[in-house]
């Protein structure tokens, strides 16, 4: 009897401990989320064009997802080059945009923002050229 109750107690305490632990992780996560959102909104206020970049990012993600969903829906990848072209232009444009965004927030030493923007445009044009040819 005694042994049983003690083991039951032990289980109870251990579950309590895990609850406490997960609660603390959740709280930490909430804190981090709050702080990062706050810094994000601050950054938006500080750099007004950041909003433009992020909206473009969001559109790219949506277009990519739509194409993949279409592929899954018809269950056929027949013009596979066309799918690759459409999907890669989204992914590539997204990658270029993110790298431009990083330089826009924290410019690399020796590379001014205007030059970064110019490089972004040139790289994007090359990407579009390749993708249009790939889709044939």
């Amino acid at each position: 009897m005694a042994a049983n109750t003690s083991s039951a107690n032990f289980i109870k305490t251990s579950t309590n401990a895990t609850n406490k632990k997960s609660n603390s992780i959740w709280n930490d996560f909430q804190d981090v989320y709050r702080v990062s959102m706050k810094s994000y909104w601050d950054a938006l206020d500080k750099y007004p064009k950041l909003k433009l970049i992020d909206i473009f990012c969001l559109f790219l993600v949506i277009i990519g997802v739509i194409q993949f969903a279409f592929l899954c829906l018809i269950r056929d990848n027949f013009p596979f080059n066309a799918f690759l072209s459409g999907f890669i232009i989204c992914v590539g444009q997204f990658a270029l945009l993110i790298s431009f965004r990083m330089q826009y927030l924290n410019p690399f030493p020796g590379i001014p923002k205007n030059r970064a923007f110019g490089e972004f445009i040139v790289a994007s044009l090359i990407l579009h050229f390749i993708c249009l040819h790939f889709i044939n």
């Binding site: 064009k49 433009l52 473009f56 277009i63 013009p79 799918f83 459409g86 232009i89 444009q93 994007s124």
Partner: protein, 428 residues
């Protein structure tokens, strides 16, 4: 004109001629000229003056060999068995290399010549030894009557209406090897057996319908034909009238005058433009039509050959297509000498490489047809693929491309022109 050579065992020519007079007349009436040679008479012993072939030409189209005593042949050419005209090697060469047809008749009463038995064994026919004679107590005791229901090959001979009986007298019976070239023609009846009361040392060779009384063989590549008959009574005077139809059909089949078919011409072309391969090479997914003309010899002229089971194959190692050919019956091809068969239109597979256009028709008793044509089917050239806008599926991806590019242009314009936060907000 067909030529025939007959070798015989009978020392007395007159007796032989009397015995097989009607058979010889039958040969003549079917258009065969023949020459008789007496292998066993003393002046032909060395048989140098008898030749089946000369340099590269065969002197005869067909050879009928009547029963030959083993002993007599040995006496004649014991020194050079291989040089004898009737050595199995010579006869096999005549059959294989010169497309010669052979009719070999053996007798159950004698020890037949070794060379003939060896030759038959090589073809997969194993005749019963001396004195193993087929009996059937349900029939007349002296002669063996076999009903036409035991006929096995409709291309050699078939009886349409009532049952007919053939008189084989006293006959040997053969066991057959399991070969596709063999054409069993007449099997012994269910109630037949081999009488071993005379010589109890031997086991019966076969029993019942296991045995075959008449058997054919057809070479796969050259369509030369061989017939073995186990009884001289089939063709001699005693039962000529009752056996006449069977013998006539048997001889005509044997000498390639019956059930002979061949292809005249095969062609294939683009189904829509009628252009042949030489005018416009085939590429994958092209629609093609294949045609083949097949004709049959009816004994006096070439007539259309009709069948519903001829198949065309498009092969690259494995068949990509196997199509039943259908006969065309229009005015253009409706003539009396051949039948034109077609696959109708079919689409070449989505695979490039060397393809074989093949028609292979092998039926037991009919001469074989093999018509093949190897052609290259090319892949699409770089500018023959459909463009993206021609494929409806790719419209989605094409739109995505255009949207991303136009978004990019808008983004650049907005990014450069607007410095004010509020205007950007309005735009979105």
């Amino acid at each position: 004109m067909n030529k025939g050579v007959t070798s015989m065992n009978d020392d007395e020519n007159e007796l032989f001629k009397n015995n097989f007079k009607k058979f010889m007349l039958l040969l003549e009436s079917n258009g065969y000229n023949y020459t008789l040679y007496d292998i066993q008479s003393s002046n032909n012993r060395n048989s140098n003056d008898i030749q089946l072939t000369k340099v590269d030409n065969s002197l005869y189209d067909n050879v009928i060999i009547f029963p030959i005593l083993k002993a007599s042949l040995k006496k004649g050419s014991s020194a050079s068995e291989n040089k004898s005209i009737l050595s199995s090697k010579n006869l096999l060469s005549f059959f294989n290399n010169y497309n010669g047809n052979l009719m070999i008749i053996t007798s159950p009463h004698i020890n037949n010549a070794d060379s003939l038995i060896n030759l038959l064994n090589e073809f997969g026919i194993f005749p019963s030894p001396k004195n193993q004679i087929v009996k059937d107590l349900f029939q007349n005791k002296d002669t063996l009557l076999v009903s036409s229901s035991n006929l096995l090959n409709k291309y050699v001979y078939s009886v349409d209406n009532d049952t007919v009986y053939f008189n084989l007298g006293e006959s040997s019976v053969a066991r057959l090897d399991n070969r596709e070239q063999l054409v069993p023609i007449l099997k012994s009846s269910k109630t037949s057996f081999i009488d071993t009361t005379q010589d109890k040392n031997f086991e019966p060779w076969v029993t019942g319908s296991q045995g075959y009384l008449i058997t054919g063989f057809q070479g796969v590549n050259n369509n030369a034909r061989l017939v073995w008959v186990g009884s001289t009574n089939l063709i001699d005077e005693s039962a000529h009238d009752i056996n006449k139809n069977l013998v006539e059909n048997l001889v005509n089949w044997n000498f390639n005058a019956k059930s002979v078919i061949k292809t005249l011409k095969s062609r294939h072309y683009h189904a829509n433009t009628k252009l042949t391969y030489d005018e416009l090479n085939y590429k994958i997914n092209d629609v093609i039509r294949y045609e083949i003309d097949i004709t049959e010899w009816d004994g006096s002229q070439w007539i259309p050959f009709t069948a519903e089971d001829i198949q065309f194959e498009l092969r690259q190692v494995d068949p990509y297509y196997r199509i039943n050919l259908t006969r065309i019956l229009d005015n253009e091809t409706n003539n009396n000498t051949f039948a034109r068969y077609t696959t109708n239109n079919f689409k070449l597979p989505n695979r490039h490489g060397m393809f074989k256009f093949l028609t292979e028709y092998k039926r037991n008793g009919l001469s074989t047809i093999k018509d093949e044509d190897i052609k290259a089917i090319r892949h699409l050239a770089y500018d023959e693929y459909p463009r993206s806008w021609e494929i409806t599926n790719s419209w989605v991806y094409l739109t995505a491309n255009i949207v991303v590019i136009s978004l990019f242009i808008t983004f650049v314009i907005l990014f450069l022109t607007n410095t004010n936060v509020t205007t950007v907000k309005k735009n979105n």
